[in-house]
């Protein structure tokens, strides 16, 4: 910072302002009684230092109070708690409620935006929203129609708003935002509509755009420095994205950014992943399709990429790379390293050095994964860092109009956006996963702005020759690349996990159970069936000296598409239809918050 002060005074003031905002947000994050970001903290660890509820007493947990959101569709994300106020959001129409926890949960204010309902029709996979964020006295809401709104946290008054995209072109939003320094980092959805994905930083106080970095396109659009931006330790060179596409396909190339964001203040780097290249028919887009399916490390102030790593070059299965990047400090070969761990849709869990972008570990976190034999880890090899594709599972090599069968994982990935948690004591990651495989038949499609741009027929079914269920909840060792334990689940685990200093790990299930398990062993300690299936993320907070655990119920999202009808293996024929009970036998729609506590 001192070197910055020698620069022009205007620049120095801006930098100092960013630093102050950073510190104030970090100070709020550091209070264990609060939950001010959807991800818990900048590291996306989803770990709470609270330990009043612990593995010895969690079986006494009771419902303390509940709150209906008044909205029926899929409820992702979680509430926030800042001071004595809880902020609860809903799917479209994206209502925000501020509840006064010191006054019996009375509604302090309610904000309901007016949005054109047309946006619902261009949202792939339900109208979910993964929640609001808090920073600098403001609540940031990113609506379905891509409007970013800053609300006064005390009154709900709109302080500023800005449109981040155009729903008429299929640009929508489902994600939360990340306040960093004096900026708000914002992503975009629409990979199934041929959107050119981007990440944008807006000024936290005015909503003015500070920078925008696309995932695909020329260097000045993707904010790459050909000499300084590296991939696996080497400069990417000029036109790294353009060279990996045929013609102008990159303009409708996808690479959307609807996942989670993390931040390392010391390095001043933000981390996130980009989604699938469009279309889903790989034959229509020859090349590696950079930088779709990529982990990005970008400077928070300028947006310029420091390093990138493309996990799935030339995607053939819709394995979006948007899942969260979890930042940890751990010992590797006797040396403390700053790490980034990422559980990708493609079924591989990656551990990288988050400063340099060096790839340390890439291993399957579900033994069912069969599209690849693994990643080339030899730095001297020409295919260093690339996954070896199994020809039989390659929808590109099998070609258009050919049905490739038995591919694991399915397009929804071994894990989708549902975030994992990390416990610094056990050094284990707790990962909600899908255990689903697919048949995939690509075919030719044409692009129309604002219309779906898919080009593949999919059939999904539980992983064959396994426990018959569609999910697992696993504990993962990111240094050795190993599953420590695995809990089979009947349905995909579509709920974000929470780890606590009480050595309890919480997660929700699609049937509607909130479950608590022992962080060390995975033994189930408690379960309670909430009114609807859980696709939200578990959070915890403390109010007036008492610890609470809260989760949104409300089945829907991508999980609500197939699972409402039940998935069947088309290769099993009619006989198997009754074999996998459908989710509709267990739960129905309904948005509700359930808050748990120990008895007084």
């Amino acid at each position: 910072m001192k070197t910055f002060m020698t620069l022009t005074s205007v620049f120095a003031m801006t930098a100092a302002g960013a630093a102050i905002a950073n510190e104030s947000i970090q100070a709020e994050i550091d209070k264990p009684e609060q939950w001010v970001l959807q991800t818990g903290d900048y590291k996306n660890q989803r770990f709470s230092k609270l330990d009043q509820i612990n593995k010895d007493n969690v079986d006494d947990l009771q419902v303390a109070w509940t709150f209906s959101t008044g909205v029926l569709r899929g409820h992702e994300g979680s509430p926030l708690v800042v001071g004595d106020t809880m902020y609860v959001h809903t799917p479209f129409p994206n209502i925000v409620y501020a509840l006064d926890l010191a006054n019996d949960g009375v509604i302090k204010w309610k904000y309901e935006p007016k949005q054109n309902a047309d946006v619902i029709g261009v949202m792939c996979c339900d109208t979910v929203n993964r929640g609001v964020a808090y920073g600098d006295g403001k609540i940031f809401l990113h609506q379905a129609d891509t409007k970013v709104v800053a609300l006064d946290a005390n009154t709900g008054e709109v302080l500023w708003s800005v449109m981040n995209g155009d729903p008429a072109k299929g640009e929508t939003n489902t994600a939360t935002v990340m306040p960093v320094g004096d900026k708000v980092i914002v992503g975009i959805s629409g990979g199934e509509f041929g959107v050119q994905g981007h990440v944008t930083a807006y000024d936290m106080n005015t909503g003015e755009m500070a920078w925008r970095a696309y995932s695909t396109g020329p260097d000045d659009q993707i904010l790459f420095d050909p000499e300084k931006t590296t991939a696996l330790g080497k400069p990417v060179g000029a036109d790294s994205s353009l060279n990996s596409w045929e013609g102008d396909q990159w303009k409708i190339g996808g690479g959307t950014t609807w996942g989670w964001y993390s931040y390392d203040a010391e390095e001043n780097l933000i981390y996130y992943g980009s989604g699938n290249p469009s279309t889903w028919n790989p034959s229509q887009r020859p090349g590696d399709n950079k930088w779709s399916m990529t982990i990005f490390a970008r400077d928070a102030d300028t947006g310029v990429a420091k390093w990138v790593y493309q996990m799935t070059p030339h995607d053939e299965w819709d394995y979006d790379g948007i899942n969260e990047m979890i930042l940890t400090e751990q010992e590797v070969d006797g040396q403390m390293r700053k790490l980034l761990t990422h559980f990708d849709r493609n079924g591989l869990a990656y551990t990288l050095d988050r400063v340099s972008g060096e790839l340390l570990v890439a291993e399957k976190y579900d033994p069912a994964v069969n599209w690849t034999t693994g990643v080339d880890m030899d730095p001297e090899s020409e295919t260093y860092g690339r996954p070896a594709v199994v020809a039989e599972m390659s929808t590109e090599q099998n070609g258009e109009d050919v049905n490739s069968t038995g591919i694991c994982p399915a397009a929804l990935g071994t894990k989708d956006q549902q975030p994992a948690a990390y416990h610094p004591d056990t050094q284990m990651f707790y990962v909600p996963t899908n255990h689903v495989c697919m048949d995939y038949e690509p075919f030719r499609v044409s692009y129309t702005a604002g219309q779906p741009y898919v080009g593949a027929t999919l059939a999904m079914y539980p992983a064959p020759d396994s426990h018959g269920g569609m999910g697992n909840f696993i504990a993962w060792d990111n240094i050795n690349g190993e599953i420590k334990w695995s809990i089979p689940e009947q349905f995909s685990v579509w709920s974000g996990a929470l780890a606590t200093a009480g050595d309890v790990v919480f997660y929700g299930t699609l049937e509607g159970y909130l479950k608590a398990v022992d962080a060390e062993t995975g033994d189930e300690l408690y379960r309670f069936k909430t009114p609807s299936g859980i696709i939200g993320n578990v959070m915890t907070y403390e109010q007036a000296g008492k610890q609470y655990v809260a989760v949104l119920s409300g089945v829907g999202g991508w999980a609500g598409i197939g699972l409402a009808a039940g998935l069947t293996n088309p290769n099993d024929g009619l006989g198997a239809v009754g074999g996998y009970s459908s989710l509709s036998d267990y739960t129905a729609l309904g948005g509700q918050l359930t808050v748990f506590a120990l008895p007084d």
Partner: protein
């Protein structure tokens, strides 16, 4: 004939009779005749044809593919419905063919306190509109339980006329 059918539907609607009732009055499922690999009911409405050995007509097979590209992310696999969009295998049976076309082409909104259902307009999407009859007969075959869930095992071959019409529609 198509004109006659839609006029009839309009008259029934004007007389206060419900759409589904009129659809049930006539046989909207059974194939009466075939033309260049496409099957039609007595009222010239496209329909499916399933042979004794389970062989499906080309449109039903093609509809299976197109449905699972364009429709299933909202309406669920095999027309079964999802947590937020209706089961189209039922709609294809209950709705008049021309009403079905109208909703796909122009969209439909049911937005109120309890529901936020928006069907987008697909009228200018060739990936949908060039295959609308395919999707319709596939869903009708599902609704009538004439084909099971999953990929149809056997299919009739694609006729030259269907191939030519497809290319013309897509502008290839």
């Amino acid at each position: 004939m198509k004109f006659t059918a839609s006029v009839l539907a309009a008259c029934l609607a004007a007389a206060g009779m419900s759409g589904p009732a009129s659809a049930q009055d006539v046989d909207n499922l059974t194939a009466a005749y075939e033309e260049d690999g496409r099957y039609y009911t007595e009222d010239d409405v496209p329909t499916f044809n399933v042979g004794d050995d389970g062989t499906v007509d080309w449109l039903t097979y093609s509809g299976f593919r197109r449905y699972h590209s364009e429709c299933h992310v909202c309406h669920g696999p095999e027309g079964e419905g999802s947590s937020y969009a209706p089961a189209l295998k039922t709609s294809a049976i209950d709705m008049d063919y021309y009403d079905f076309l109208d909703v796909v082409t122009n969209g439909r909104q049911v937005v109120n306190a309890a529901e936020h259902n928006v069907m987008p307009a697909f009228g200018d999407n060739p990936n949908v509109m060039c295959y609308i009859d395919d999707i319709y007969v596939y869903l009708k075959a599902r609704g009538a339980d004439a084909v099971p869930r999953g990929r149809p095992a056997k299919k009739e071959s694609k006729s030259d006329v269907i191939r030519d019409d497809e290319n013309a529609c897509l502008g290839l």
